[in-house]
């Protein structure tokens, strides 16, 4: 059960933090349609966060709510992969990060449709509808910008090179993952890798982007609560009101 709780936090923290990063674009996108699509993606991810952390709170059964988990845990207790907490930089990094994550997310949710936990399967089914669209959109943009101008190509390649060493954490398993896999709740992270690589290879190829040669699992630890220096700043901002006015209702 503590493993199940941890695993649910990982799911919910990934969507919370990625949603936060994407929402930073609000009103600052390069074109109106993109402003809308980014807000929409962030909105979906916050919705998933409500479901995952809501279930985590139920499983924990300690009187905490999804909001308590989102707004009252410090960085050491956050369980998202480091990939999602990296700064937005430009749209190239934002989209490439989203694509690398979406390609994993869709495989994960698809596998979770078969989860031994009906609650997990139900959340996955709801989220999958939206995430199917996310990966379609981010793949499409990676292709178009990769095969666009020299500048857009260079920016996408730079984003890929920079983000690549963070992508592998999505496929690293630990005790929590093993316990949850054994309970039939979720696949082992490594099991999703082949399908992810097929998607990524195909999209990068069409985008005329070069897959980096270095290790893709250099940066790890987020799932165990060891983050980059960026997460603390995200949380300081995100949690301010709940921290400053404890017990208030909003």
């Amino acid at each position: 059960k503590p493993a199940f709780f941890d695993w649910l936090c990982r799911m919910g923290d990934n969507t919370a933090i990625l949603g936060h990063r994407i929402s930073e674009w609000c009103g600052h996108g390069p074109v109106l349609e993109e402003d809308i699509a980014l807000a929409n993606t962030a909105l979906d991810l916050i919705g998933h966060t409500q479901m995952w952390l809501g279930l985590a709170a139920e499983v924990e059964d300690a009187g905490r709510t999804a909001d308590d988990l989102a707004f009252l845990r410090d960085a050491m207790k956050y369980r998202n992969v480091q990939l999602v907490e990296l700064p937005n930089r430009d749209m190239a990094h934002t989209l490439m990060r989203e694509f690398l994550f979406d390609a994993w997310h869709v495989e994960m949710l698809t596998a979770l449709l078969q989860s031994g936990s009906p609650r997990v399967a139900e959340i996955a089914a709801k989220a999958l509808k939206e995430v199917g669209y996310h990966v379609e959109r981010s793949s499409d943009l990676v292709v178009r910008l990769g095969d666009g101008t020299d500048e857009s190509h260079a920016r996408m390649q730079d984003a890929l090179d920079r983000l690549w060493p963070y992508a592998g954490e999505l496929f690293l398993g630990d005790g929590v993952d093993a316990a949850v896999a054994k309970a039939g709740i979720a696949p082992a992270p490594g099991d999703l890798r082949a399908a992810w690589e097929r998607t990524v290879d195909a999209v990068l190829d069409e985008a005329t982007l070069r897959k980096p040669e270095g290790r893709f699992d250099v940066h790890r630890g987020g799932k165990q609560g060891r983050h980059t220096e960026h997460l603390g700043f995200i949380l300081a901002e995100m949690q301010f009101l709940q921290r400053a006015y404890p017990g208030a209702s909003w």
């Binding site: 609000c26 390069p30 109106l32 402003d35 409500q50 430009d90 178009r144 910008l145 095969d147 909003w250």
Partner: protein, 316 residues
């Protein structure tokens, strides 16, 4: 008035809608472009003061609601630019005029959002005032504008209710929350009254616009209506409208109220509002930093079209 103009005016008087391909006076077209464009720009710039609190929203649900709202505003911008495009002016052209300062957006967005209660006040007062302006415009004479307004009004009234719900939570919350709610009302009351524009006696284009049904009510009528509806809402919240002269006038059947500081209004219009420079710079920066992105998509579209063309030639 030429015979054409007379016929045009008669159609309007009969309540007919004017459609894009039909003849219209130059002044009608120009006034519409200015008004629709300004409204579209307001939606776009209007994302910023609320976007300012998205990353700090206090609960997941509030964050989701706020995101949805800001997304709607971008959507409204899109409808309105499309309506303007039917008048022969492109979105990029209008955007250029916004960024160069040649076209305006609603001055209300030059005020900062300083506490979470401002998310309530903006929804309640700013969207509330916008709706007062927009509801009659659903019956405006220009077809595409009228249809855009119908879609927009539906969403705006939803936003206003959400804003009021935030104010309710704050006004009935802890003493600090109540203080924030009152402070937000204090800061947004007069700027909201300004949203209807100066008194009609000082307004230049009003008469012609009203004849054309581009403007459906006078500024003062709408402002009065806003005050009449809003004051009881403030009372229900237990908040005090920052106007000592405010009182119900039985004879008029309306509230008497103080005019906003019109000097401030003109100062903000001139660029001396609290956030004019920052708002415009944020939009400019977004546009400039997005150039490579737009260029990339265009280049890909050209390549893809060329590929399709050569594929179809090869197939022949």
């Amino acid at each position: 008035m030429s015979p054409e103009e007379r016929a045009f005016q008669e159609r309007i008087d009969r309540g007919e809608k004017i459609e894009p391909k039909e003849w219209m006076p130059d002044g009608y077209r120009k006034t519409l472009v200015r008004q629709i464009g300004q409204h579209a720009h307001s939606e776009i710039v209007g994302q910023l003061p609320e976007g300012n609190w998205i990353t700090r929203a206090p609960t997941l649900e509030r964050k989701a609601i706020l995101l949805a709202k800001v997304q709607d505003e971008a959507g409204h911008g899109l409808y309105l630019y499309s309506a303007a495009e039917t008048l022969g002016v492109s979105r990029d052209e209008l955007t250029g005029k916004l960024l160069s300062g040649k076209m305006k957006y609603s001055s209300i967005f030059n005020y900062p959002t300083l506490t979470w209660a401002d998310m309530g006040a903006v929804g309640w007062l700013v969207d509330g005032a916008a709706i007062m302006n927009q509801v009659p415009l659903q019956r405006t004479s220009y077809g595409p504008y009228s249809r855009a307004m119908i879609r927009i009004c539906k969403e705006e009234s939803f936003h206003q209710r959400q804003g009021y719900a935030i104010m309710m939570k704050m006004a009935r919350g802890t003493p600090e929350q109540k203080e924030m709610a009152q402070d937000a009302l204090n800061r947004f009351w007069y700027p909201a009254l300004m949203m209807f524009g100066p008194s009609d006696k000082d307004s230049v284009h009003s008469a012609q616009s009203m004849a054309w049904k581009i403007k459906m009510n006078t500024n003062d009528e709408l402002r009065q209506k806003f005050v009449d509806e809003t004051v009881p809402q403030a009372e229900y919240l237990g908040l005090t409208v920052p106007d000592e002269t405010l009182r119900w006038n039985d004879a008029r059947g309306h509230y008497d109220f103080a005019q906003p500081d019109w000097d401030e209004f003109f100062e903000v219009l001139k660029g001396n509002g609290p956030c004019n420079r920052e708002r415009l710079e944020a939009r400019r920066e977004a546009w400039e930093r997005g150039a490579w992105f737009r260029d990339g998509l265009n280049a890909y579209a050209d390549k893809a079209a060329a590929r399709r063309a050569s594929a179809s030639i090869a197939a022949e």
